[in-house]
């Protein structure tokens, strides 16, 4: 497992941040989906804080713009007409493409979709990049979807917990460097690990990275649930000046897998 330096980070969590909508560029308001809006604002804030311009983009999203997919299907199922705008917006890597367009980032552009493990998956995926692809912009984003809220009572308990998480909607952007100099906080990830029928808590304890010392371990339920919980946790870690090494676990019921991210001050 490799570690990367977090040069800069910014978050848009609509439930606690009313100002964010004012930062959506006029050109994006008319047509682009909500998750692109959140990602754009988070990225703009992140880049403003940092001197570096990313060379590549990794986005992490559990469901993409699911609302747009639903709207497209609504069109087909109601009057037989699906909106092209909804379809384009529903493509999982649409957001990554839009970011590369707006920021003129011509390097590798990847999108990881691993449920609550998406952010961890993206951090692990950074290990596949070359030095010239750094700094890398990593953006985790998911939105709350009214349809899921409506269907939630009929889903399994672990799934309900993920969907009902308090911080389940938002965008968090990080700029990572592959050099460990500079005194920046560092992050590493196991990426998704398949656990089958092993209990998540047991699996977490068996996989805590061996970076020395006894870290604070945050389990998914404590992290507040939600698809973006790990990314929110990483952001909170960076924002806390008293931070001590922290390991954040995520659990994906639909793929029977966990992931761990290791955050070092």
């Amino acid at each position: 497992m490799r570690y990367f330096s977090i040069i800069s980070a910014a978050a848009v969590i609509p439930s606690v941040d009313e100002a964010w909508a004012g930062e959506i560029p006029a050109s994006m308001r008319r047509r682009d989906p909500r998750i692109w809006h959140m990602a754009h604002v988070a990225v703009a804030r992140c880049i403003a804080k940092s001197q570096s311009h990313p060379a590549s983009i990794l986005t992490a999203t559990a469901l993409g713009a699911l609302d747009e997919t639903k709207n497209f299907l609504d069109g087909i199922y109601s009057d037989g007409f699906g909106s092209p705008k909804n379809f384009i917006a529903s493509v999982h890597n649409g957001m990554a493409g839009k970011l590369s367009l707006d920021l003129k980032i011509p390097g590798p552009n990847l999108t990881l979709c691993d449920g609550p493990n998406s952010f961890a998956s993206a951090i692990a995926a950074c290990e596949c990049l070359y030095a010239s692809d750094f700094p890398v912009l990593v953006v985790a984003v998911d939105e709350s979807v009214e349809l899921l809220d409506r269907l939630s009572p009929h889903l399994s308990e672990p799934c309900r917990r993920v969907i009902a998480g308090s911080k389940r909607e938002g965008a968090i952007a990080f700029i990572l460097s592959d050099t460990l100099a500079g005194g920046y906080p560092r992050i590493g990830s196991t990426g998704p690990l398949f656990i089958g029928n092993v209990k998540p808590d047991e699996a977490f304890n068996n996989n805590i990275p061996n970076a020395g010392g006894t870290p604070t371990v945050i389990m998914p339920t404590e992290a507040g649930g939600g698809f973006i919980a790990a990314a929110v946790g990483a952001f909170d870690f960076i924002a806390d000046p008293r931070r001590a090494r922290t390991v954040i676990g995520s659990f994906s019921p639909s793929s029977k897998s966990i992931s761990l991210i290791d955050l070092c001050p």
């Binding site: 983009i57 559990a62 469901l63 993409g64 997919t69 639903k70 497209f72 299907l73 087909i76 199922y77 037989g80 699906g82 092209p84 379809f87 384009i88 529903s90 493509v91 999982h92 890597n93 649409g94 990554a96 493409g97 839009k98 590369s100 367009l101 003129k104 980032i105 011509p106 390097g107 590798p108 552009n109 990847l110 999108t111 990881l112 979709c113 691993d114 449920g115 998406s118 998956s121 692990a124 995926a125 290990e127 596949c128 409506r150 269907l151 009929h154 889903l155 399994s156 799934c159 196991t190 990426g191 998704p192 690990l193 398949f194 089958g196 994906s252 639909s254 793929s255 029977k256 897998s257």
Partner: protein
């Protein structure tokens, strides 16, 4: 820049289940399209598509995409009888996963809200990571990641599998799968990207894509794994390029800028000059824009453009599967020593200025595969008979 050994391959497509039978259809230049009738599309005229006629194990799998993915993955893993405690890392490529099942549930739910009671088993199929969990469960996978970058995904999965081996993984399976769904058929249709009379790659009369479905898998192994398992590599992935056009959300850069940089990056990693490439298996979707931009890019990279082909009339455009599926057949072309034909091409386009090659026998040392996706996302990979560099 270590090359990654390909020690197993699997494929299921409209032509056949299995790599050898699928390759035979490719070699013959078979027209793989038929009028789609698996379900009602709501279009006045159902498009010409390449559906898989029989999906093995469909009734035991959660959905069509999962069944196809498992089929291809099992074929790719077959050469390894005893994994000798080596951990299997799986990189999964899919655009809509099991959406073909989720969308049926959603339609029923709209008509009858009490259908919500079925949500637990019917809703989550479209989640890409669910496909990966299913594959790990059935293949003994230890870890995975799930990529979704539209039509370039499969090839990115191959490239990431290659890189994973340099980061300590021993066995890495790249699997790509997508099934035909109402979402994709109506989606591409709403973008006016589907050719009503079937795709005609590089042809003067080309007017769009034809959708297909399928799955493919490539098992890559580290040098250590190859020795331990006592297997003979089929070929090697020697280079991977990944770039973004930064031009437009749905149309490629007209000069093929991102594609050009991508191919150069792949060649660079492989340590090869363009002249070493014997065959290009293009993205060749047959949209007016893609084919022109792609050939423009090729002309920038290659002083002498090698023979090129598109397999999309035989296979249909299989979205996330396409990058791996067509790369598998590129390996076959190298094994058999032949240039592949382009079904659906008849009339050269003066604007493109070049025609795809006809089938002929020809020894090949290195093949280039391209795959370009929505959002200006580009992937390229070099596959070689022997490890380079």
């Amino acid at each position: 820049m270590t090359a990654a050994a390909i020690i197993g391959m699997g494929a299921i497509c409209s032509a056949a289940a299995g790599v050898e039978r699928g390759f035979e259809a490719i070699r013959q230049g078979t027209d793989g399209l038929s009028r789609f009738d698996a379900f009602e599309t709501g279009l006045k005229l159902a498009p010409l598509c390449s559906p898989v006629k029989q999906v093995p194990g469909l009734s035991q799998a959660p959905n069509r995409t999962a069944a196809m993915a498992l089929c291809a993955a099992q074929e790719a893993l077959a050469p390894v009888h005893n994994r000798r405690n080596l951990k299997l890392h799986i990189i999964v490529a899919t655009t809509v996963a099991g959406m073909s099942r989720s969308e049926v549930f959603y339609r029923k739910f709209r008509e009858d809200p009490t259908t919500a009671a079925l949500a637990a088993q019917e809703l989550g199929h479209h989640e890409p990571t669910a496909l990966s969990g299913f594959l790990c469960e059935n293949l003994g996978g230890a870890s995975f990641c799930t990529l979704s970058t539209a039509c370039s995904t499969g090839l990115h999965a191959v490239g990431m599998a290659k890189r994973s081996l340099t980061q300590g993984a021993d066995l890495c399976l790249a699997v790509g799968a997508d099934a035909l769904s109402l979402l994709t058929i109506r989606g591409f249709s709403s973008l006016m990207l589907i050719d009503p009379s079937g795709c005609k790659p590089f042809d003067k009369r080309r007017a769009g894509i034809s959708l297909g479905e399928g799955a493919a898998a490539m098992l890559l192994a580290s040098e250590k794994a190859v020795r331990l398992l006592g297997v003979a590599p089929l070929a090697f992935v020697t280079g991977w390029g990944a770039t973004a056009d930064c031009h437009h959300m749905t149309a490629p850069h007209p000069a093929g800028d991102g594609a050009m940089r991508c191919m150069r990056a792949a060649l660079n990693e492989a340590g090869l000059t363009p002249a070493k490439i014997g065959l290009i298996v293009s993205h060749g979707t047959a949209t007016p824009d893609n084919d022109l931009a792609e050939i423009t890019a090729l002309s920038s990279v290659f002083a002498v453009v090698p023979p090129f082909c598109s397999l999309k009339r035989t296979l249909g455009h299989t979205l996330a599967a396409s990058g791996i599926l067509e790369a598998v057949f590129a390996v076959c072309a190298m094994q058999h020593g032949c240039i592949l034909p382009t079904a659906g091409f008849q009339q050269p386009d003066e604007a493109i200025g070049r025609s795809p090659a006809r089938y002929r026998e020809q020894p090949l040392e290195h093949v280039l595969k391209n795959a370009f996706g929505f959002g200006g996302n580009n992937a390229a990979a070099v596959i070689s008979r022997e490890a380079t560099g």
